[in-house]
Amino acid sequence: MNRRRQSGFTLIELGLVMGMSIMVASFLIGMFQAHVQMLNLALKNTFLAQDAPSIGLLLTRTIGNAEDYRIYADGPTARSDGLRALSGSAVRLWMRQPNSTSNVTSRQAVVSYETINSHPGIYFFLANSAGTFSTTPNWELAGGWLTSATFSVSLPTTPASQYQLFVTNPSMSGVLIVILNGSNSDWYAFSAEKK
C-alpha cells in the first residue's frame, strides 16, 4: 500500500487532472477564437473609426474654401469642365484668390475619386493660373478601405436603401453631400461645404 502511494497518482487522480486540463484548454481555445473574432471586428471597423472621419475632415476643409462648386460624373470630365451632373465621383471647385496686382481671381481645383496608376483613391488637382490642370495630382489619398466616394446635391436614386437619409430631407437640394463607401458595405455621409 505504502509502495503504491509512492509510485504515483491513482487513475482517478490522473483522470481528474487530465479532465481539468482539457476543460481549461477548451476554455483557452474558445477565448482564442473570441480574440480572433474581436480582432476581425476591429479591423472591419477601421474605415469608419479612422479613415472616414479623417477624409471627411480633409474634404470639408478643402471644399469649404470654395466659393462655388459643380459636380461631374468622373475626374477627367471635371478637369475638362464637361457635362455637369447632380451626383458623381468628382467635384470642381472655384476658389477666390488674390493675385500679385491685388485683383481677386478665381482658382479652380478638382477633388475626385478615381484610379490613377492602378491606385484607386481620392485625388486633388489644382489648376494653374491659366486654368489648366496637370495630369499629376497635387495630393492623393490612395489605398486604404475606401472603395468609392460620391458627391451629390440631390436625391441619389441608387441604391435607394443606402441613401435613406435623403428621403427624409427633401428640402436639402443644394447641399453638397459626400458619401464615402468602405470595403465592408459600410458608408459614412457628411456635408462638405462652407458653414
Binding site: 509512492q6 509510485s7 504515483g8 497518482f9 487522480e13 490522473l14 487532472v17 487530465m18 481539468m20 486540463s21 481549461v24 484548454a25 476554455f27 483557452l28 477565448m31 482564442f32 473570441a34 480574440h35 474581436m38 480582432l39 471586428l41 476591429a42 472591419k44 471597423n45 469608419l48 473609426a49 472616414a52 472621419p53 471627411g56 470639408t60 443606402q162 435613406q164 437619409l165 427624409t168 430631407n169 427633401p170 428640402s171 436639402m172 437640394s173 443644394g174 447641399v175 453638397l176 453631400i177 468602405g182 465592408n184 458595405s185 459600410d186 458608408w187 459614412y188 455621409a189 457628411f190 456635408s191 461645404e193 458653414k195
Partner: protein, 154 residues
C-alpha cells in the same frame, strides 16, 4: 556534475515526484495562468471595441448634425414657415433617419426638428427664425444628442 543534474536515477524522492504526475498539475496551473491572461486580454479588447463603436457613433451623429446645419442654412427663407419637416416650438417633428452603415448594421438616429419664430424687429421690421435640429442616438443604455442651431433673418 551533481550540480547540473537535478533528477537522477538514484534520487528516489525526485524520481517519485517526476513520475507521479506532477507535470499534469504544473500543466493545469500553466493553463489556468494562460486563461487568466487571456481573460484580461479579452476584457481589454471588448473595452476597445466598445470605445471604437462609440467613436463611430459620435462621428456619424456629428456628421449628420453638420448636414442639418447645411440644410438649415440653405433653406429658402420664405419656405421656413411652411416647411412640413419643422414645427414651431414647443411643437416639433420627429423622424427616424439613417445616419450611416457599419459592416454589421445600419445606424439610425431620431431627428427632431423645431424652430423659433421671432416677431418682427421694431426698428428694421425684419423677421427671423432660429432653426433647431436634434440628432438623438441611443446606444444601449446611453442616449446622445447632437444639436444644430441656425439663426436666419431677413
Amino acid at each position: 556534475m551533481g550540480r547540473w543534474i537535478i533528477l537522477t536515477g538514484t534520487d528516489k524522492c525526485s524520481r517519485s515526484a517526476r513520475e507521479s504526475g506532477y507535470s499534469l498539475i504544473e500543466l493545469t496551473i500553466t493553463l489556468c495562468l494562460l486563461m487568466a491572461i487571456a481573460l484580461f486580454g479579452l476584457k481589454t479588447m471588448i473595452a476597445g471595441s466598445i470605445m471604437q463603436n462609440w467613436a463611430i457613433a459620435q462621428s456619424m451623429t456629428d456628421a449628420y448634425a453638420g448636414i442639418e446645419t447645411s440644410i438649415a442654412q440653405r433653406e429658402v427663407f420664405v419656405n421656413i414657415a411652411t416647411d412640413t419637416t419643422r414645427a414651431v416650438y414647443p411643437n416639433f417633428i420627429s423622424t427616424t433617419v439613417t445616419i450611416g452603415k457599419t459592416p454589421f448594421k445600419t445606424v439610425t438616429a431620431t431627428l427632431v426638428r423645431t424652430y423659433h419664430s421671432y416677431t418682427l424687429d421694431a426698428d428694421t421690421g425684419a423677421l427671423s427664425y432660429l432653426l433647431e435640429s436634434y440628432v438623438v442616438f441611443a446606444d444601449g443604455k446611453r442616449t446622445y444628442c447632437k444639436v444644430s442651431k441656425v439663426y436666419r433673418t431677413q
